[in-house]
Amino acid sequence: MDYIPNAPDDVASMLSAVGASSLDELFAGIPENIRLKRPLRLPQGFSEQELWAHMVELSARNLTTDSHRCFLGGGAYAHFIPAAVEQVAGRGEWVTSYTPYQAEASQGSLQAIFEYQTLICELTGLDVANASHYDGSTALAEAVAMSLDASERTRVVLSSAVNPQYRAVLRTLFRHSGLEVVELQAPDGATATDGVADLAAQAAAVVVQSPNYFGVVEDLAEFAKAAHAGGALAIASVNPVCLGILESPGACEIDIAVGDAQPFGIETSYGGPWCGFMAAKKHLIRRMPGRMVGQTVDASGRRAFCLTLQAREQHIRREKASSNICTNQALMALRATLTLSGLGREGVRRMATTCVQRAHELEKELAALPGVRRPHSAPFFHEFVIQTPMPVPEFAEKLARRGFLAGVDLQRDYPHLPRAVLLCATERNTRQDVQALAAAAAEILQEKA
């Protein structure tokens, strides 16, 4: 099947208009010896009805955060998504538009991005934000690139409690730039601050994450102070949900805040598409990568919006550009905008507070179980680490059989934490869910003992 409207009559008259005798003749510019002489080896096409049946069957082979109660976190979070967000963001006008290069015909998209930028600034307490990044990991890498650009230095000081995948992306994207990474340890769950100011003296940036990968709330103000003492920029990767209740990066004097807006109305969708965000202090605006929407006026003096500061971008600067980013995640940013605007200042606080409450209830229940150890004692937001006597994959599998998705395994990235599980609770988990998970864990660990 296809979506081509041309009927045989159309084809005949159009071919005659272009002076070709067949569709094949249109490809005469492609040398004969490199033409594909056989059909592509792909399954035969489906009608829509057949496709739907096939896809429903395929999707049913997966366990989901709907079919099971989800306590997974580690950079991806299952939150409640309001119907209004799905319905409005699903409109064809949003879904099927292109980048708003023609401002007069794109005021809707442009205003929505402007509102998104404002929401990100408000949450992070910073002055300027761009129109979004692929995800939190690439936003962090771009922030590091900004810091390298802004200084003559080639080192960054990086907390080992930053999401391991973010650190891996950073290593890949800077393979060829001579970046030197100095990692800070986090023995009690919180990243150690000793000596950071000395390290910062030769670094372009100090990079921390809060809440960090262990769920622990970092002392952002302390890191910003240490970074600035050494003449480095302070970069924080933050879960935006916590900003409903935790002090903003801006108020902590952080220079660049990044993260992923996925928790606000964006499906976990097996890892993407999501919405990386970036906000910074005003003086860094011309170093920021990516699209940015600005306010201006039209010819009759009315307020209007357009893409701006494009002289920073690859389509103008080409090989001199400091980033190759071209797209943003506009549709995902729209979902975050709808969610944040709908939640409002009280709703975001409520969401964050419920996350904290559920996670602490869960921690209390699990920490009391025989054989369970808590390696960290630092304050946490909605994730925390436990160690059990059971290998994590086995623990997770037994929980799955009882209807729970839980058990992000930390051992691969943190060998000093054997049999360590990262758990997360959000407002989607009820108190009954929390108690049920604790009861299931007790049962599983008892069987083992």
């Binding site: 999707s59 292109y98 401002a103 408000e122």
Partner: protein, 491 residues
């Protein structure tokens, strides 16, 4: 005060208004859990609105933007084809959308099967041996492919290969990606026929050359006839050929990059395979390569072991991870559905009708317009707008006037090698009547340009706003709303 229709959501906010999305939290003070010094002193100034205001605000905004669902959108190089509704419905199935990326492979066999099959389909369409779905967009695909080339050369001890050759008609991302991969860029001239100037290519080819980045068909909508010779030249010099797959819509099922000598390329799923552009993203930029580059693909790889699918991390030569998790899976689902719908015949027909529509539209508007490098085109063609200069009309004026006729303008001022250009790609989705109406509008605009140039200079006349002062936006950047602070009156 701004009219409600032009207000920001922040300006519609009134203290105490709310939606009922979430239940109340328990009345426990937060400092029972988190030390007070970490808690926020002042709440973020987020809007306070009810649900209907929220919905109406964003539905109204949606109506202020052109989209494929509402308008013909012939943006060259962007492949603005129909985005099937069924694919949106499929991607929203909880069995795809509600998967957590930390779920172990045993729990998501359906998802991994889909990704594995999609890798195979894309490899077949490209004539390549291996595919990664991880890159989040075309530009990230470019960087991934170039880093793989660099790793391959480095492993052979060829560490002096630090230059990439790029034709002057290329997208801006090509040189930007090359720089990020640590390469120096040399531009290669186009010849009079719009192809790569072989003499210039040979002059710039050297033992320092790592790769040529070529877009084929080119951004001029022309297939590079000398592509086999070009690839041979590069390979003889020990270099690799990277292809920007932006224009695969013209050649899917007709010819394959792997068969004409390309070593590594990216797809833009949001172009060729119709995953929606979403107002500027999300995209998805899978990379396909020949066998010799496979060891360098990003991790994790989706692999099949017996009848199970799994994620492989242990690949010592891999360039590493370029994005968290496995790429834009939601886009992979839509692309898979699109390929399964079309099958081999449907994909080939897409190419045939995209090329037919482009040639037909070209025949309708040239003359009176002048086509750059006028020969039979592939899926798009480029108009040279410079003859209008003598009327005092710039291509920007034509583009803005097209809005009044209800058409989204083509891509303008790109490629850089054609003055005042318009790059027109109608895609296979459009009817002949739509193409005719667009051609008629273009012709009428040309008449208006002669009769009443001011009409064009002032265009658009029918949009929610008139032409914008973009200079002001860049000179005094305002990238966020600043609420007006009301000073409390003394009681």
């Amino acid at each position: 005060m701004n009219h409600p229709d032009t207000q920001l959501i922040f300006e519609k906010s009134r203290p105490g208004r709310r939606t009922g999305f979430l239940p109340d939290a328990d009345p426990i003070p937060l400092d029972a859990f988190i030390p007070r010094r970490f808690l926020r002193k002042t709440p973020p100034r987020l809007p306070e609105v009810g649900e209907l205001e929220l919905v109406r605000h964003y539905v109204r905004l949606s109506q202020k933007s052109f989209s494929i669902d509402t308008h013909f959108y012939p943006l060259g190089s962007c492949t603005m084809k129909y985005n099937p509704k069924i694919n949106e419905k499929i991607a929203a199935l909880p069995g795809f959308s509600r998967l957590h990326p930390h779920q172990p492979p045993e729990e998501v066999q359906g998802a991994l099967l889909l990704m594995h099959e999609l890798q195979e389909y894309l490899a077949e369409i490209a004539g390549m041996d291996a595919v990664t779905l991880q890159p989040a967009a075309g530009a990230q695909g470019e960087l991934t492919g170039l880093m793989m080339i660099r790793a391959w050369h480095d492993r052979q001890g060829q560490k002096d290969r630090r230059e990439v050759l790029i034709p002057d008609s290329a997208h801006g991302t090509n040189p930007a990606s090359s720089t990020l991969a640590g390469y120096r860029v040399h531009s290669v001239k186009s010849n009079r026929r719009g192809g790569v100037d072989l003499e210039d290519l040979q002059k710039k080819l050297s033992p320092r050359t790592a790769a040529l980045m070529i877009t084929n068909p080119s951004t001029l909508g022309l297939f590079e006839r000398e592509i086999v010779r070009i690839c041979d030249l590069l390979h003889q010099a020990g270099a690799q050929v990277y292809m920007d797959g932006a224009n695969m819509n013209a050649i899917q099922g007709i010819t394959r990059p792997g068969d004409f000598g390309v070593d590594v390329m990216h797809f833009n799923l949001h172009k060729t395979f119709s995953t929606p552009h979403g107002g500027g993203g999300p995209g998805s930029g899978p990379v396909a390569c020949k066998r010799h580059l496979e060891p360098y693909l990003p991790v994790p790889r989706v692999v099949k072991a017996g009848d199970r699918y799994t994620l492989e991390n242990d690949r010592p030569h891999s360039i590493g991870r370029v994005k968290s998790f496995y790429g834009n899976f939601g886009m992979h689902v839509r692309c898979y559905a699109y390929i399964r719908t079309h099958g081999p015949d449907g994909l080939r027909r897409n190419a045939e009708h995209a090329v037919l529509n482009a040639n037909y539209l070209k025949s309708r508007i040239a003359p009176p317009f002048k086509v750059a490098y006028d020969r039979r085109c592939m899926h798009e063609f480029v108009i040279d707008g410079s003859p209008l200069r003598k009327l005092g009309i710039r291509t920007l004026d034509v583009a803005k006037r097209l809005l009044d006729y209800g058409f989204h303008p083509p891509t303008i001022y790109f490629p850089l090698i054609v003055p005042e250009c318009l790059m027109i790609e109608p895609t296979e989705s459009e009817t002949r009547e739509t193409l005719d109406a667009f051609a008629d509008a273009m012709t009428r605009i040309l008449e208006e340009a002669k009769r009443d140039p001011e009409l064009l200079h002032q265009a658009p006349h029918t949009m929610p706003v008139k032409r914008l002062d973009e200079l002001k936006a860049a000179r005094e950047p305002i990238v966020r709303h600043e609420p007006v602070v009301s000073v409390p009156q003394p009681a």
